[in-house]
Symmetry: C3
Subunit: 402 residues, 3 copies
């Protein structure tokens, strides 16, 4: 059985249907559903590498709505959509009439008549992004049910206030390949028992969203990994999500612990993921101030937070810290861009040396994202993903006609 | 004869060629030409619903130029272009060198070398939008004639100061389906004798373009409908277009009347289309002030207009008004977004109850627009539309490879 | 042998591989390599004219990065990409996180996972544009080598501070057709001995980039043409590039001379290319001032330069000047938009009469650009371009299914 057949067989075996289900938060999906997405992503990457077209759509629109800046996620979404045959149309709220009192329900339907997927990034306001995505989802459910829409577009969370599923799934897929078995085949099982340190790290900026650390702990805890979350006192994540990670660890036979020491988390870790974020209570305050357009309040908050951050400048992932990890050779991960000391800032999340050592690995990690997004679209829009993928192989259409 | 064959047969029977003709104003097209567009749109919707690809172009650019904000028309144009196989490229006058003294003729040719369609929205200045579109049309006529262009792109009016043909045609197509015959088949003939009330309605904003009411009266009057136009004294549309509607009504065996009472227009109506607009004389003044960049003048004009509007707050389409219509059950129409009382504003064009009752209908109405646009492109670019559509059915390429 | 076969045979005969080579500066490519691009462009235009699809990619992204405004080059790049089957995604530095300290290397990889081409315009800063493109090129070389990227995207210079290869190559292709042999077939050989006057011309604006005149003299000198460069004293181009043109003229059996008189350059010229630019020393100063954000300095520089320009108002290409050329009938060329006296400005680069006489020719000249860009992509991404083009003819897929 070759690589392709193995993935297809995995998909068939899990038998988990994601048809017309959005993965807005990975913790709402079953482990089998997540495995299906991972396997589909692997097949799509296999097809791309082997110059086989993955065009399942002859036409159709992929709507992209970014309420925050983005380069890599924007390109990942466009690439994923294009890979499957869809054309991206930005919903630019600046250009559109959304600002003029349109309801979410109406707009969601108006952009969906010939659309197959809607990708949304909305991570600025705690309590808002995930809620907005659900509202859009309900609107298009209703549009389909009422005969307004011929099809119900897939909804892809490209980062919300709560989760960043395309990031955490791409991160996890990277791990299945990095910790491949001897014959080179990727393996979810090999990650059982591996220790990952998801830690806060110092940054000279503030207000970074919580979705990455939250997404990582809630996902990695589902596959029997030893998840260690570390941050300076006060830099808590949303408590419910942390609890969920604990429950998942128990269920999956892994472990989950929270501590206030980077060193403790790094101790004997197989993987480290040091990344700055703002305490969720600060994000709540910030959301309130942004809503009130209280510029003075926002400036004061930023100032006090940066002062607070500055107390933890030793939370830098550097050569010394890496020595604490398993054989001093843990895999360093980051969602990029990282704040690299003496490169992108004076002092940041990671030393130049450590980053440079793992730079290529972080690029490879990022390279899984387009395939994860495409897999989420495919799983949502095709009742039988393994059949659709098998069709692509049988069709054997070259992607580039060399 | 099934639905598809019926539409194809209709197209063949009318035998009206729109090849290389732009529909900038519906009143410049023959009734048969308009019927052809409607039938093509129906076929394209049929193909989409039945998962048959309508890709007639393997490559080609669709240029979109929006001189006013838009969500729904932008998505409709992109969706229509993509359905036929074209890729949209925005002509963003902010990004481009148009502001630097380029002539319309030159730009029109420069963007057209590999382009198959140019869609333009230009509705802000009375006397300008339609004139600009004609200038572009002449430039590409000349470019084709002089050997600069291999093909002459279709020009689609996505809303001008005078007409909004993709809106009025989508509205009309909706009516042919809403008033279908017993066996469910759409019918233009069934609309003969139906009364439509195109009326002004109160809105707390001002300066809404005239193209929708003008487009509606000039189109609906061509198919034997009883068209009633109502507005408060002074809120006149462009007189020539109103005259045209009168002539059409006579020719088509329908009727056309103008009154200053919403109640009178609603009386026994089968369809109501209540929508705010600014008097054309105000639009003229506004255009002049915008050209002179007279901010004070614009503010004064807005103030006086809003005061004027406020005299007609009873021009709201509410439950009471709807009781006047045929069996109290007239179809409510709107191009969206509507100003909905106590939803998008305190008091607006339509009460929340009436809007909610017809909300799904207005969404379905909007859903015809992508197909109308695609039909206009197809009719303009293909010498024999029925043959092209027949080819699509024979090719029978799945749009989604499920 | 028909036209198509002639071009294919030319490509096979030169046997110059541009596979995975970027043409950032035409003077770094061999004459045979440039001929290959010209012939590929001719084939692609032939296919387009004859309604044969040139889609070699079933999916894939074309990244466009414009650091300066553009209409025609933007549309040319989009059209070229679409012709080959690629979808454009803008890298909008305003929207992206590039401004937040990302390194060029990282961004270059992040946008390239499923990308086949990256087109860049970066012409504002002398000493920066070409350097930036090289940095991007090295980043994706490395990304491919390190296994980050499945493919190494082609890099297309859409105008830098030094060269504008898609412009000069389109200009040259235009000449091969304009000076075709009696049977109508284009010919590079016919240009041998033809005199082209690349001259400065007066413009009421300042700061126009040097890339066009530099690109033109460095390219036209390679094919045995008599190249005459003329500008008022002080309006020098980058000296190294001027030297290169001289060397090329010697090697190719043509000639190259520099003078300070428009009349002298026009004398007996077969082709004139009058165009404004700023002295390279001014561009250096301007770059320095822009970097320092010295607004006062920039205003002072502009003022003094415009005063300087005003001394040379007689450098206008008008009917009198044209009388000096070969039979008074030299071909007028311009990259557009031109500053046309009494059309786009009071007094400019060319009189209204001369421009109008050659207007259609300048449009046709511009029309070659999309095909030149597509040819550069094809030559870079396909190991055997003649085979790829032959495949397209054999496949004989209609571009429009009429």
């Amino acid at each position: 059985m070759n690589e392709f057949e193995q993935y297809i067989s995995n998909i068939k075996n899990t038998d988990a249907s994601l048809f017309q289900k959005d993965i807005l938060l990975t913790w709402e999906s079953s482990v089998d559903e997540l495995k299906t997405v991972l396997n589909i992503a692997d097949v799509l990457k296999y097809l791309h590498t082997n110059n086989i077209s993955a065009k399942l759509f002859e036409s159709g629109i992929a709507v992209s709505l970014f309420r925050d800046n983005s380069t890599r996620t924007r390109f990942s979404f466009t690439s994923a959509s294009d890979l499957l045959g869809l054309s991206v149309q930005d919903l630019d709220e600046g250009k559109s009439q959304i600002a003029h009192g349109e309801t979410v329900r109406e707009t969601a339907n108006m952009i969906s008549f010939l659309s197959e997927v809607i990708g949304i990034r909305d991570d600025m306001y705690l309590g808002a992004g995930n809620a907005y995505m659900r509202e859009v989802g309900e609107a298009i459910d209703q549009g389909k049910a009422e005969g307004v829409l011929n099809q119900r577009p897939a909804l892809v969370n490209l980062q919300s206030d709560m989760d960043h599923p395309t990031q955490s799934m791409a991160d996890f897929l990277h791990l299945t390949h990095h910790f491949a078995t001897a014959d080179g085949s990727s393996s979810i099982e090999n990650l059982r028992g591996k220790k990952i340190a998801m830690t806060w790290a110092y940054s000279p900026s503030y207000g970074k969203p919580l979705s990455v650390p939250q997404g990582v702990i809630a996902l990695m805890s589902r596959f029997g990994m030893e998840v260690s979350l570390a941050y300076p006192e006060g830099y808590d994540l949303i408590p419910e999500i942390v609890e969920t990670a604990g429950t998942f660890a128990e269920e999956s036979g892994g472990s989950f612990n929270v501590c206030n020491s980077m060193d403790e988390a790094f101790q004997n870790a197989d993987i480290v993921y040091p990344k700055s974020w703002a305490p969720y209570k600060v994000m709540e305050q910030r959301t309130e101030l942004l809503r009130q357009q209280d510029t003075q309040g926002l400036n004061d908050l930023e100032k006090s937070c940066l002062e607070q951050n500055a107390l933890y400048k030793d939370w830098e992932c550097n050569e010394q810290k890496m020595l604490l990890t398993k054989d001093g050779e843990a895999l360093y991960m980051h969602c990029l861009p990282a704040d690299i000391s003496s490169v992108s800032c004076n002092l940041g999340e990671v030393s130049a040396g450590v980053f440079e050592k793992y730079r290529t690995e972080t690029y490879i990690e990022a390279g899984y994202k387009p395939f994860i997004i495409a897999a989420m679209i495919l799983a949502n829009r095709f009742e039988n993903p393994s059949e659709a993928l098998d069709y692509l192989r049988r069709r054997n259409q070259k992607r580039i006609h060399t």
